[in-house]
Symmetry: C2
Subunit: 285 residues, 2 copies
Amino acid sequence: MIRRLCIVGVGLIGGSLARALRAAGVVEEIVGTSRNAAHLQRAEELGVIDRFDTDIAAAAQGADLVFVSVPLGAMRAVFEALKGRLAEDAVLTDAGSAKASVVEDARAVFGEVPACFVPGHPIAGTEQSGVDASFAELYRDRRVILTPLDNTDAQALARVRALWESAGAVVTEMAVEHHDEVLAATSHLPHALAFTLVESLARMSDQREIFEYAAGGFRDFTRIASSDPVMWRDICLANRNALLAMIAHFTGDLAQLAELINEGDGERLLEFFETAKRARDAFAG
Amino acid sequence: MIRRLCIVGVGLIGGSLARALRAAGVVEEIVGTSRNAAHLQRAEELGVIDRFDTDIAAAAQGADLVFVSVPLGAMRAVFEALKGRLAEDAVLTDAGSAKASVVEDARAVFGEVPACFVPGHPIAGTEQSGVDASFAELYRDRRVILTPLDNTDAQALARVRALWESAGAVVTEMAVEHHDEVLAATSHLPHALAFTLVESLARMSDQREIFEYAAGGFRDFTRIASSDPVMWRDICLANRNALLAMIAHFTGDLAQLAELINEGDGERLLEFFETAKRARDAFAG
């Protein structure tokens, strides 16, 4: 049971967790905080949080669980606001989409990464953002990756695991660097490609006509380019190395495809597409 | 009213048109043909066609409308089979995803592009293929692009337009080359990117684990990589120049994004993502 949950950043991610834990009946009180009083006001109106305070330290006071779901670029400032103000039994966790940068932020602010801090990342979300888009089922049957460090307190880890399991998620653990590589491949690179494709077409002179002839495949393919630009700017900067490596890898593979097309090598093109279709069908099934 | 419609290649595209025209009550008889008797048998069982013949010329005999929906690589052989065997009042049209190559095939086979031939392309489809995936509503409110040539018979054009409108589609006309450029941008490039991404990840050693952590965004983004490999091999070869130009364009834009990430230029990254999001949201709305 969580006595008092403090959620820093009550948007799609934080709001959905609040709704899920409330629905599961595992939390007594939820306090929201962020820099935006209007957003917090809205979250209170929706019943997602019980009360709010735009002062982060005040909001976290007496909380036994502090959940930070802000863009990666805002993490360090949140840690600074929390420094020396956490309750003695408090567990701190986050939802950042890259983990090395968050761990680095924690180390920079606290001197060493606190034993009570459990870095985490729910592999869930939609292209929507904000508390109005939040819903209790967002995490149901979704993966949550926790990346504990050597000094992470075992009990803190167990509490964060239980938190996510109460929300219906499937929790796994992996090393910080491995997380960042896996996510660069499955999430950060696809977003970079979708944003680039849409930006590229938008700059072409006859963009209106081009979008007019785009069909359902294009719609699906580019849906993720509707995601929050601030969040994605921060992810690109925070997971810079792994993402740049994946972009370089992909660029090489695309050049190879272009070479097959240029050579008119139908046999190897077919092989290329068959490999991809098999992998995609296996994934879907 | 179509007296006898001959459909060459009764898969998702041909089958859905047959169903739509039947539902609209504008066709008396539908004859299917292709090289695969089992597929044709299945189409007959489903009631999509009235009868079939694996001999293309025999199937097209007496047809006043011949619709060719085979992969682009099979177009030329179909034209060869039809040469000299079309009824005098017959109109010929196709559904190829690239138009210059089809026009070139027609020219090569018939000496000049027949006046009765109206090159066309329905901007519709799913990642499924085969007659079992066909449905009457596939073309409802979807775009169909016709690319008539200078010598195309006006009445033939009017009949093909009416055909698609009966299926619920919105018909527009454009020049062959322009069609191929627009489709390279909105369809062929996105497919190339999705296939490449999945193929790329599939070759990474820990592929199983990687796909395990892929979320809904990845699912949407890569759905089109489940499309028919033969069809896409043929499109890449048929629309080689326009597609290679788009891949080069995209590669340049991706390199620019990588440069912004590498430089840590948050301001321009944000701008990049905001431009993309605006364009994508406008498209969706």
